[in-house]
Symmetry: C2
Subunit: 336 residues, 2 copies
DNA sequence: GCGCAAATTGACAGCGCTGTCACACCTGTC
DNA sequence: GACAGGTGTGACAGCGCTGTCAATTTGCGC
């Protein structure tokens, strides 16, 4: 039924070389005659040879396994990043584990360390807000565990970065170009670097358009829908309510729209709203949401690729990627 | 820096027993004196012993690895199921891989087989629509690969099941109880068993309320948002448009709402809309969506547990779980 | 043509665990 | 008291691969 799987030794015997040479070919090591290499490759192909992952790990003392760590409420974000990491893993003959964590739990750092040592992980891909967990980063450096970060606050290390500050600034400038002067901002969760960048970008945008920063137009949030609802209720109850709200992510923007609808306001006629992230939901609400698109899947792919460079001891870097504004129905020119 | 990890042999030496006995304790095998077992367990604890996964796999000829296969456009669904599977894996000392597939690709079955044999997987958790891919199921049975299914169409095998037909029926009865007589249905993707069940349940509900099935009120969809928009445009252009629309999932329901809003209809005043799945988005649109909740995470956990039973050769079953209706703002009593 | 370095290949010994089998010991039976 | 049948334990040989190191071949300068 199931044909016995070919082993490395079988390939060696049939190709007429030693097992070690087959191993060299398998691992793309140098110093193998091209002729020998081709012969071995052909034999592998003929036998449908596939190395045994466990045997490889045991002998080589590395697991060929990385983990993607997340503590993120947004399934679409996590899935997209995951999908990119998976792509990179498949391309590099690595496997990936997923592992959710509560990064505010006191045992968090120890839990990650246990995961790394128990599973003999070769490295980690960190996503926000884990990518900014200083205690974890310190521990990983101490243990010498390779890692790469997605959108870390610190502009160093291996990973991938997107200029969210500039994106937020662009968004505010767009709102200003529509004639809005009272532009509010709903801040994200303080543990996320993204919340800071987007707030900074908001301030940059105001400044560049000659608008004054007004403290009462800036309210805290948590990146969650409900916090957007709460923020909107506060903002819309002001004596001079904003004519546009820039929420630090889409979920909160949806919350703002929800609260506005509840109050009978029409969007975008009575209030322009925009978000950040371009989640699938942003196109599924009415009107569809103006937001900032990040190439999450590509970011996952890049972060994993950088991680593999670190693992192999090659030079790695923080790669920059590009955002784009998605101008949709939830924003419109100010009329009055 | 990194302390050398204790090996099984170290535990054996310190506990004063043979390595094989430690192995027996580790694998919870019978025929070990309780006293010996306790001593070994204590030593393991003291040394922080953790078995080396690769060594175990290699020697035992099993990988302690399962994969979760998906081809599902809904990130929140997949993430929830994944989270449950992960829970079960952690409880049973297994690891999990994720792997997305295009189940309509001609190479699909071979790709899965390659994954199983290359990675030496111990089993698979299948999600819709992969759980209903007959060719794949046949191949897996032929290869003797254990698997468990989430919401399979066929009411047999190992896995987890939820009575979606009854849920859909309940939803229609609820709409009827609000006074609606022209209740439309947007069907899901024909490859998904769920689409059939929900349609059947819709028909059951109509029948039980003494309402006639009207072919023009039942339009095809794909489970995607855009198909909901298209379906709604068709339905709302009818001479006698429906007063309520039951879409086979939330994304399409959002599409219906979107199209209705575009036409200037107010929901729920002019049109009641409901969906199925209780995605996060269903609470983030205005008005929030009446829908059916499935305990996806628990379903993932159950499916994985059943898979482990199959792997161990224990009896397995198709476990039933319960749904619940979430009555929210998108449905209301008919007024006229 | 010789010496030395680099290129190419192979022999061998594990990596850390488990399957198989053998052995010692115990219990109860007639 | 000899024997079958069970229980608890250990010796040993790998699982399929790679690291180390040694052996052999090749290339090149003078």
């Amino acid at each position: 039924m199931t044909p016995a799987r070919a082993r490395l030794e079988d390939v060696a015997r049939i190709a007429g070389v030693s097992p070690k040479t087959v191993s060299r070919v398998l691992n793309k090591e140098p110093n193998v005659l091209q002729e020998t290499r081709d012969k071995v490759l052909a034999t592998m192909e003929a036998l449908h040879y596939r190395p045994h992952p466990s045997a490889r790990s045991l002998a080589a003392n590395r697991s060929f396994l990385i983990a993607l760590l997340y503590d993120n409420a947004s399934p679409s974000y996590t899935m997209e990043v995951q999908s990119g990491v998976l792509d990179a893993c498949n391309a590099h003959q690595y496997s990936m584990m997923m592992q959710p964590f509560d990064s505010r739990a006191p045992e968090f750092v120890d839990q990650v360390q246990a995961l790394v040592t128990d599973r003999r992980l070769d490295g980690l891909v960190l996503t926000p807000p884990i990518a900014d967990h200083e205690k974890l980063l310190a521990r990983l450096r101490e243990l010498g565990t390779p890692f790469a970060s997605v959108a870390p606050r610190s502009q160093s290390g291996a990973g991938v970065f997107l200029d969210e500050r500039q994106a937020a600034c662009d968004m505010v400038k767009y709102l200003a170009s529509l004639g809005h002067k009272r532009i509010a901002h709903v801040i994200g969760h303080p543990d996320h670097g993204a919340a800071q960048w987007r707030l900074q970008g908001y301030r940059d945008g105001l400044a560049q358009c000659g608008l004054r920063y007004a403290a009462q137009l800036v309210v805290p949030g948590t990146f969650l829908f409900d916090s957007g609802v709460a923020a909107a209720r506060k903002l819309l109850a002001l004596k001079s309510p904003p004519t546009a709200v820039f929420a630090a992510n889409d979920d909160m923007a949806a919350g703002v729209m929800w609260a506005a609808s509840e109050l009978g306001l029409a969007i975008p006629r009575d209030l322009s709203v925009c978000g950040f992230d371009d989640t699938p939901m942003s196109r599924q609400i009415w009107p569809s949401l103006t937001t900032v698109h990040q190439p999450c899947q590509e970011m996952g792919r890049i972060a994993a690729s950088q991680l593999f460079r670190v693992v192999r001891g090659n030079s790695s870097e923080l790669v920059h990627t590009a955002y784009s504004l998605c101008l949709r129905g939830s924003t419109a020119a100010l009329v009055d």
